[in-house]
Each structure stands twice: as structure tokens, then as C-alpha cells.
């Protein structure tokens, strides 16, 4: 259960200040697949970042499981990013010159998981996203879709309750985008992982069970796709 209460985010100072979010209140229930849509600069990415604790709001409250996040220690926040959230980015953000397996293992390293278990879980994660046997491939040896699968494997390897995806298909052609979307949908459906996905692509948003549209830092529309 994630909950934004009256979140305001202002970038910059005084004259050049930009109000990215304006008193947003938004709750996400466990197991939901929420698509966040809206034009560029509408605040949808900022919202996702606040959900993922990559960004701190200027004002307002963010509650995870009913607990306000802003009072928590840095270490707890890092821990939350590590075992509650899995991030999937538009640009994949894989470490270059590093094997797929090692990329997937990264969150487990910070979770303090032992080497053997780490390898086993990373392999299982790669298997589950449909990349068995590609453990040693480096990102530059993989196609965009495959790279995104590695990124998804990385996102799910530590059993997060929420996947935060920022334009996951933005850098992929429609066919690959579709595969990735199905993968994400399966994660949501079969494993009950909450998915929050920023997209400006209506076909992607169609996979979601709920769509929240942003406009100029405010929620314009919040509807169920069911």
C-alpha cells in the first residue's frame, strides 16, 4: 500500500522555480498495475521517482504501508529501494562491460546475499525473464529487448513488492515493446507484484488495470481499465 498525500515538488529556486507536482494525492493498492500517463512535463516521472524514493517531495507526505517515509533513516530508504522496489528504466541502465548475471546480481550484493545464493537467484531471475544461457553476455552483445529483460530480471531478483517502470518500451520497437509489456503484465498477474508504469503510449497503458493521467502537475484523470 503506497500513498501520496498532498505531494508538491518544486524544482529550482525562486524565479526559475518550476512546480512539477502540485498537491498530489494518490494511493496505490497491492497488486495493482497502474499506468501513469500524460504529456511531457506533466509530472508523471517525478511522481514515479517519489514513489521509488529516488526523489524527495518538497512538501506533502509519502506513506509506505502506512508509515511516512520522510522520517526514515537513509539506510532504511536504501533498504526499501533494495527489497520493496524494482526499477525498470527506459534506457535499461545496465552496467557496461559487465555480464548480464553480474548486472542482475547487483541488488543482491547490496542486500548482503552470499555469493552462491546470489548466483542461483540471479540465474533463476534471468531464466524467468526468458534469457536462460545468456548469463555471461555483456549488454553490448544483447539486443534492446534482451537488455530490458536483463533489467527486469534485476528489478525482480530481490522479490520486490513493487516494480517501478519508467517508459520501459520507450527505446524498443513495437514488437519488442509488446513482449516486454507482456512480461511485466505476467509479473503483475502471476506474482502479484504491484506495477507502477510511466508511459505515454496508449497501447502500453492498455496493459494496466488502472490509468492515472497527469497534466501540469495535477492528476487529470484516474480510472480503472478493468
Amino acid at each position: 500500500m503506497l500513498e501520496l498525500r498532498n505531494i508538491t515538488k518544486i524544482y529550482g529556486q525562486q524565479a526559475s522555480a518550476v512546480r512539477a507536482l502540485d498537491r498530489i494525492t494518490l494511493g496505490v493498492n497491492d497488486g495493482e498495475f497502474v499506468a501513469i500517463t500524460g504529456p511531457s512535463g506533466s509530472g508523471k516521472s517525478t511522481t514515479l521517482s517519489i514513489f521509488g524514493i529516488l526523489e524527495t517531495p518538497t512538501a506533502g507526505e509519502y506513506l509506505i504501508e502506512g508509515i511516512p517515509v520522510q522520517n526514515l533513516a537513509k539506510q532504511v530508504l536504501a533498504l526499501l529501494r533494495n527489497n520493496r522496489f524494482g526499477f525498470v528504466f527506459q534506457t535499461f541502465n545496465l552496467l557496461p562491460r559487465t555480464s548480464a548475471l553480474e548486472n542482475v546480481m547487483l541488488p543482491l550484493i547490496y542486500a548482503g546475499v552470499g555469493t552462491r545464493e546470489r548466483t542461483a537467484r540471479a540465474k533463476a531471475a534471468l531464466d524467468s525473464v526468458g534469457l536462460p544461457g545468456r548469463y555471461d553476455a555483456h549488454p553490448n552483445q544483447l539486443s534492446g529487448g534482451q537488455q530490458q529483460r536483463v533489467a527486469i530480471a534485476r528489478a525482480i531478483v530481490n522479490n520486490p513488492s513493487v516494480i517501478l517502470a519508467d517508459e520501459p518500451t520507450g527505446n524498443l520497437d513495437s514488437k519488442m515493446g509488446k513482449e516486454i509489456m507482456q512480461l511485466i503484465q505476467n509479473l503483475n498477474r502471476d506474482r502479484g507484484i504491484t506495477v507502477l508504469m510511466v508511459t505515454h503510449d496508449a497501447s502500453c497503458a492498455a496493459y494496466a488495470t488502472r490509468e492515472v493521467s497527469f497534466l501540469d502537475g495535477k492528476i487529470e484523470r484516474d480510472r480503472s481499465n478493468a
Binding site: 508509515i67 533513516a73 532504511v76 531471475a125 526468458g130 539486443s143 534492446g144 513482449e179 502471476d190 504491484t194
Partner: protein
């Protein structure tokens, strides 16, 4: 595009991750509140450990200092120790000397001349009076002949003088008778009287001449006899300096032709004993020596003479001590260098202490004029009063007083000890 391969793969994720086993999202995830609590506890623990480590640093430094700190030198390391033993003391004086035969007679020539014959060689056994060499006697024979002629001639002279004297005596008798009958003048009588006196003197001169001639004959005879050089003793020729044909001149000095050793079965060593040690050496003491020829053999002898005249070589004063030794197997040869130990004393009691122990007083203890040694027990010194007996330079007999065999006694300060007590 490399995407074709992934397309063939099923796109559904049906299998759950192997971790946490269960399906879907129902696996137990630690509630956030618990997580926060755990994290806080972990933080606290980390902080505690950090403080503990921080506290450990000075402790560690202290430990390092403690290990490296200048340690007080333990008492036993400050002293060099010796051990009391009961092996007894044999006091010895050491010296070196040459092996020689007890009697060696040098045989020389009293006359000059050419060596005609040498019937003996090195190592020849000789009897008393045996001819060792002959000098060509011709000259001395001629001299004898001449002297004998001289004897005859002088005897004839004597006979003549006696005859003359008898004649003169008769003349005087006749003159006396005539004079008593006053048939002769007193002056005639006086003449005859003095004539007889002259004749008497002439006889005395002739007698002396005979004696002289006899003496000369004896000289010549002796010289001739000296041409045959004989051994004065029974023994062995150890040196021969001449060969036949050689000419020797016996002018101011008698040339030594042979050395004859009386008996090589009895040898002696004249050991040069240092003036510092000679006081201990007395006749009758037992002595042992070795020679290089038999490094492992110990010869035993007896001191038979301690000479009173010093030998001074470069300010070093030594006295000769004669050690006689049996040499029945003739192993010893004259001239060998012997390293001699003269046993000058035995301890009465076997118990002995290292000499240094008797001269050492540990720092902090008062000097004790009563002789004794110090022992160390823990930090405590203990004094044993002992009356020293004889010493062999390294050990001293404990003549009186008791100290157990095996006791460790203080000898001197070690360098560490010196450093400690120098401060």
C-alpha cells in the same frame, strides 16, 4: 536484429522465483515497521561495534606498547652463572721443552789432521774405548820417533856428564891428598873444587834434558794416541760431523766430531717453566707430555730437577724443569718438542667453584671480606662462606664450607646486567 531468438521463447512467466518458495505476492515479506525496527537495531549495533573498535584502538596501542615497552631485565639474565661441581681439581703447570737423552757425550778431536778413517756411522752402538775415527798418524809418529831419539841423545849426554863429573871428583880427591901433603898449591885445589861443582851442574842439566826429552816423548806419544778417537761411554752415535778425508784443525777449540748418547731408553725433557709458575714445581712431581709425532699418546715422567739458573729470552724469564721419562720403545727421539703438563697439586675435596665466583659481589650487596660465593634465588642473593683451596686457574677447591653440588653461583654481570646497573 538479434531479437528473433527471444521471440521464439515463451513470454509468460509462470514459474515463481525459487526464493521464498511461494506463489505470487503471498510470500512473507517483513512488514515495513519490523524492517525499520531491525534496521535501527542493526544501526545501533554497527554504531556499538564502531565505538568498540574505536575503543579498541587505544587498547591495541596500549598492547603494542606493552609488548614493546622496555622490559626490566629479569634477574637471571643480568648475571653470568657458573655451577658448583664435584669433579675435583688437578692443578697443572704447562710448558714446552725439548726431548733429549739423559747423557750425551760430545766427542771431539784434540789434534789436527786429516781424517783417515771413520768406522762408525749414525746410530752405531759403541762400546767404551771403541774407535770412532782415526786421524792420519804419520806426522805424530814422526814426532814420536824424533822425541825418542831426543831421549836417547839426552841420556847419552847425561852419561857423558856423569863420566866427566866422576873424572873431576877423582881429580879433586887426588888434589886433596896432594894438598894435605902440601904437594899442591891451594889454588890448584880451588880449581879442582870448582871444576867438580861445574861438572855436577852439567850432570843436573843433562838430567833435566833427559826429563825434558822424556816429556816430549810422552807428548808425542799422547798426540799419536789422540789420532785414534774413541768413545768414552757405551751408547749410540747420534751425531757424526765428519767424513774420512776431511781435515780438521784443532787450534783454539776442540771440534766436535761425534755425539754419543749414553742410553736412549731413558730420556728427559727440559721444560721452560714461566717464572710465574716455577714456584709450584718441585722435584718428584708427576708430569705428562705429548709430542707432535704421537698426538694421542701421553708420556708420563717425573720432575727430577728444577734448575736455578734463569733463561731470559726477550725479557721473558723461564726456568728449566727436567722431566725424566722412560723410553723403552724408543718412541721419543732427541730434539722433539714436548708440550708438558706438570701436575703440581690435587684438591683434597672434589667440590669446586668457578674462580670468578669468588671475586664477584652483586651490585647492591656489601663487599664481604670473608671469602665465599653468591647465589640467586628469585630476587634474593645469598652468600655462602667458603674457604678456598687450590685453584687450577679456572676452578677453586672448596677447602672448607659446604655448598651443594650443582648450585648455580654468580660469576659476573652480563652486558645486559651492566646496562641495568650502570644507571
Amino acid at each position: 536484429m538479434a531479437e528473433t531468438r527471444s521471440l521464439e521463447k515463451p513470454l509468460t512467466v509462470t514459474t515463481a522465483l525459487p526464493v521464498n518458495g511461494s506463489n505470487g505476492n503471498s510470500h512473507e515479506r517483513e512488514p515495513l515497521s519490523d524492517m525499520i525496527a531491525h534496521e535501527e537495531m542493526r544501526q545501533k549495533r554497527t554504531r556499538k561495534i564502531r565505538w568498540l573498535l574505536l575503543a579498541l584502538v587505544p587498547l591495541l596501542l596500549l598492547g603494542v606498547w606493552f609488548l614493546l615497552r622496555p622490559k626490566p631485565v629479569p634477574m637471571p639474565l643480568r648475571f653470568r652463572m657458573g655451577t658448583v661441581t664435584d669433579a675435583g681439581i688437578v692443578r697443572e703447570v704447562k710448558a714446552t721443552g725439548d726431548v733429549e737423552a739423559v747423557t750425551t757425550v760430545q766427542v771431539g778431536a784434540e789434534v789436527s789432521g786429516r781424517i783417515a778413517q771413520v768406522p762408525v756411522d749414525f746410530n752405531s752402538p759403541v762400546e767404551v774405548g771403541q774407535t770412532l775415527a782415526k786421524i792420519d798418524p804419520t806426522l805424530y809418529q814422526a814426532q814420536l820417533d824424533q822425541a825418542e831419539a831426543e831421549v836417547i841423545s839426552s841420556q847419552r849426554g847425561l852419561d857423558q856428564a856423569i863420566a866427566n863429573r866422576d873424572h873431576m871428583a877423582r881429580d879433586l880427591d887426588r888434589a886433596k891428598q896432594l894438598y894435605s901433603k902440601n904437594l899442591l898449591a891451594a889454588s890448584e885445589l880451588d880449581t879442582d873444587t870448582s871444576n867438580l861443582r861445574v861438572a855436577n851442574e852439567t850432570v843436573a842439566v843433562a838430567q833435566a834434558a833427559v826429563k825434558s826429552a822424556l816429556g816430549a816423548r810422552n807428548v808425542a806419544r799422547t798426540n799419536l794416541a789422540h789420532c785414534t778417537i774413541r768413545s768414552q761411554i757405551k751408547g749410540i752415535v747420534v751425531t757424526r760431523n765428519i767424513d774420512s778425508g776431511q781435515t780438521i784443525a784443532s787450534v783454539f777449540q776442540t771440534p766436535v766430531l761425534f755425539a754419543v748418547a749414553a742410553d736412549l731408553k731413558k730420556m728427559q725433557v727440559v721444560a721452560a717453566v714461566d717464572e710465574a709458575d716455577i714456584g709450584e714445581v718441585v722435584e718428584g712431581q708427576r708430569a705428562t707430555f705429548t709430542v707432535n709425532a704421537y698426538p694421542n699418546r701421553k708420556f708420563e715422567g717425573t720432575v727430577t730437577q728444577v734448575r736455578n739458573s734463569p733463561t731470559i729470552v726477550e725479557d721473558v724469564v723461564t726456568y728449566g724443569a727436567v722431566i725424566t721419562v722412560a723410553n723403552s720403545d724408543l718412541a721419543l727421539k732427541p730434539g722433539m718438542t714436548a708440550t708438558v703438563s706438570i701436575v703440581t697439586g690435587f684438591s683434597k675435596r672434589p667440590i669446586k667453584v668457578p674462580n670468578a665466583a669468588l671475586h664477584f659481589t652483586p651490585p647492591g650487596e656489601a663487599f664481604d671480606s670473608v671469602p665465599g660465593v653468591w647465589t640467586l634465588t628469585g630476587q634474593q642473593f645469598r652468600r655462602y662462606h667458603l674457604t678456598p683451596g687450590i685453584t687450577d686457574g679456572e676452578w677453586t677447591e672448596v677447602a672448607q664450607g659446604s655448598i651443594p653440588d650443582g648450585t648455580s653461583v654468580l660469576l659476573e654481570l652480563t652486558p645486559e646486567g651492566k646496562n641495568v646497573y650502570a644507571k
